[in-house]
C-alpha cells in the first residue's frame, strides 16, 4: 500500500551545507509520526522538502506515491502546513487571515466553519475580529492551527506546533492531533519536545545531524515511553 508520505534515502543541502544525509522513512495513512531532534538536526528542512521548497540533493520524496519533484502542485494541494513561526498577517484579523489563505488554497469555507475551527483550537471569540498584531504567540499559533484544520487535507505537516502554547492548550492540541489521525489524516510533526512527541505520536524518529538514528513505536495501544526516548535523545545529542 502506498504511504501518503515517504522519504527514500533523502539528502538535502542548504546553502552548501549538508542538512539531511540518506534519510528514509514512510508515514502511513492515519499515522502520527514525530521527528525528534535538536537544533539544526534537519527537522524543518525535511518538512520543506515534502512541500517542494527544497530540492533533494539525493534520494527521493514522495507524496501519495508521486515524486514531489514531478508534481509540486499535487503535493501542496494534499498537504496542510503549519510553520514554526505561525506566519500570518499582523494587520489582519483571524477571520481575514483564514479567509485569505483559504482563498489562496482555492477553498471556499463558510463563516460557521471558521468559528468551528477556531473553537477547536480554543481561540477566544472576542479575539477573532482583532488584528493579529495584538495577539500573543500562542494565539497566533492557534489561528495557524485553525488554518491547517480548515484546509481539510489528507496530510498535515506540523513544525514545532506547540511552540508558544500554554500547558492546557498543548494538551488540547495533542487531543486534537489524535482526533485528526483517528479521522484518517496523516500527520508528520517535527519537534524537540520529547514529552509532547511521545504523548501524541504513533512513532517517533530520532534525527541527529541529518541522519535518522533511532525509531520508537507505540505498541499494544500504549504510548511511547518518554523516559526511553528521552534517554536516547540525550545520549544521541551528547554523543
Amino acid at each position: 500500500m502506498t504511504s501518503p508520505l515517504e522519504a527514500r534515502s533523502l539528502s538535502l543541502n542548504r546553502e552548501g551545507n549538508a542538512v539531511l544525509n540518506g534519510v528514509s522513512f514512510a508515514v502511513a495513512e492515519g499515522e502520527v509520526f514525530a521527528l525528534l531532534g535538536g537544533n539544526g538536526a534537519g527537522k524543518s528542512s525535511t518538512l520543506l522538502a515534502f512541500l517542494g521548497f527544497l530540492e533533494p540533493s539525493g534520494g527521493e520524496i514522495l507524496v501519495n506515491g508521486k515524486s514531489v519533484a514531478d508534481d509540486i502542485a499535487a503535493a501542496r494541494s494534499a498537504i496542510a502546513y503549519l510553520p514554526e513561526a505561525a506566519a500570518l498577517y499582523g494587520h489582519m484579523t483571524a477571520y481575514e487571515n483564514l479567509n485569505y489563505f483559504l482563498d489562496l488554497a482555492g477553498k471556499s469555507v463558510k463563516k460557521a466553519d471558521y468559528d468551528d475551527a477556531l473553537n477547536r483550537v480554543a481561540l477566544p471569540i472576542e479575539a477573532r475580529s482583532r488584528r493579529l498584531q495584538s495577539y500573543s504567540k500562542g494565539m497566533r499559533q492557534k489561528t495557524a492551527i485553525a488554518l491547517a484544520l480548515l484546509r481539510e487535507t489528507p496530510i498535515l505537516l506540523l513544525d514545532e506546533p506547540t511552540s508558544g502554547l500554554d500547558p492546557v492548550a498543548i494538551d488540547e492540541f495533542h487531543d486534537l492531533v489524535k482526533d485528526l489521525a483517528g479521522a484518517g489524516q496523516t500527520i508528520l510533526m517535527v519537534t524537540h519536545d520529547v514529552y509532547g512527541a511521545c504523548q501524541v505520536a504513533d512513532r517517533v524518529g530520532l534525527l541527529r545531524r541529518g541522519q535518522l538514528v533511532g525509531s520508537f513505536a507505540a505498541e499494544n495501544g500504549e504510548r511511547i515511553d518518554t523516559e526511553t526516548v528521552h534517554a536516547a535523545f540525550a545520549e544521541r545529542e551528547t554523543a
Binding site: 521548497f53 510553520p83 506566519a87 498577517y89 489582519m92 489562496l104 488554518l147
Partner: protein, 478 residues
Amino acid sequence: MNMMFRIAKEEWRLWLRSKVIVVATLIVAVLLAVTSVLTVNRVASEQSQRLAQQFAAEETFFAQPDRHPHRMVHYGHYAFRPPPPLAAFEPGVDAVTGQSIFLEGHRQNTPMFADTKAAADLGGFASLTPANLYQLLLPLLLIVLGHALLLRERESGTLAVMLAQGQSGVSLAMGKALALLAVIAIFMLPLIAVAIHSVVQGENGLAAVSLVGGYFLYLCVWGAIVLAASIILKHRAVSLGALIFIWLFAALIVPRFAINASSAAIEAPGKIESDLVMLAEQRKLGDGHNAADPAFQRLQKEVLEQYEVEKIEDLPINWRGVVASYSEAELTDLLNGYAENRMEQEANQSGLFKLFGLASPTIAIGSVSRTLAGTDLSTHHRFLRESEALRFDFVQSLNEVHATELAYEDDLNRSSDPEAERRTRVNSEAWRVLDEFRFAPDSASDRVDRASFAFGMLFAWLILACAVAFFAARRVRI
C-alpha cells in the same frame, strides 16, 4: 485571474492599514493635485496673455502713422509662442528657451523672457511641474510602496504559507504587480484630468492619450523594476537601498551625465563666439543703408543692364530700396546659415541625449513628454524658423515698397529737404504687408511619430524589467 485580484486586494489592505504609507501617498497626491492646478492656471494665463500680446503687437504695427518704410523695418514686430495646451503638464524647453522674439531688419534676435531667468532667485524649485513629479517623485513612491512586495512575505514567513496553499511564485508576483498597477492607475488620474483639460483647450486627443499612455508605460517600468528587486533581493533594507540607487542613477545621474556627454561629443560654439565670426562675415556683405557701398557695385551693374539705363538716377525704381532688399536677402542667407548650423548642432546634441534613454527610462519619458506636449527642442526650432520667415517677409515687403513707391531723388534728399521727406512718407495702409502670426504645435500624428523611438525605448525597458521579474518569480524560494 481571480487569485491575482485576491492577492492584490490584500496588498491594498496592508497599504491602507499602514499609516506611513497612507500619509506618504496623501502627501504625494496633494502635491500632484496642487502642482497640476497651479500649472494649468499659469499656462492658461500665459496662453491668453501671449495671444493678446500677439494681437496687440500686430495692431500697434498697423497703427503706425505714415512714414518712410525703412523706419518700419527698424520699428520691428514681435512674434509670440503661446504655450500649447499640454504645456500645462510639461512646459518642456519653454522655460529655458524664451517665449517671444523681437523681429526687425538686418538682425535675427534671440528669444526673450525665459521663465528660468525670471525666477532665477528661486533656483530649481521654480520649475516644479506635474511632469517633474511624475518623472521623479512617483517612481520614489512606487519604491516606498513596493520595495518589499515579496520580500516582506519571505521575511515574515508568509511566503512559505502562501506557496504551501498551492500558489506559484509567478501568480504571487502577478498579484503583487496588479496591486502596484492599481496604484499607478490611480496616480494617472491627475494626468488624465490635465489631458482632458488640454483637449477642451484645443489639443488633439491622440497627443493627449499618447502622453497618458507614455507616463503609464513609464510608471509600469518602475513598477516592474521594483517588483523584480523585491523578488530577487533577500533583505528589505538591501532592496530599498538598491532601488534608491537605481532611482538616483536613472533619474538624476544619467540625465546629467547625458547632458555633459552630448555637449562634449557634439561641440556647439557659444553665441558670443559665433556672433563675432558672423559679424566679420556680415561686414563683407556691405552696409545696406549705404547704396554707394563698393559691395553693391556688381548689383548696380546688373540692375542698370536689366533696365538698360546708364545711371541709377534713371532707374524706374528706387536704387536705395533695391540695395536694401538685396542686402537683406544676402544678410538673411548668412544669418540663416549660422542659425541652421546652430540648430543642427543642438538637434544632434538632443538626439544623442535621447539615446541615453537606453540607460535611463527617465530620459526616455522626458523625450516622449516634451515631444507630445509640443514643448520640445524641435518645436522651438520651428518657432525660430517660422518667426524668421515672418521677419524676412515683412522686411522684404517694406523694402519692395521702398523700391517701388519712393522716388530715388526724394529718398536721397529727405534729410535736407522737408518736402522730399514728406513725399517719402508711405501711407500706413502699406504696413498691412505684415502677415498674421499664430504659432501652433505640430500635428498630433507628427508628434507621435517623433516620439516613437523614445516610446520604443520605454517598451524595451518594460519588457526587460517584466522578464527579469517573471524569471525571478518562477524561481522564487522561501
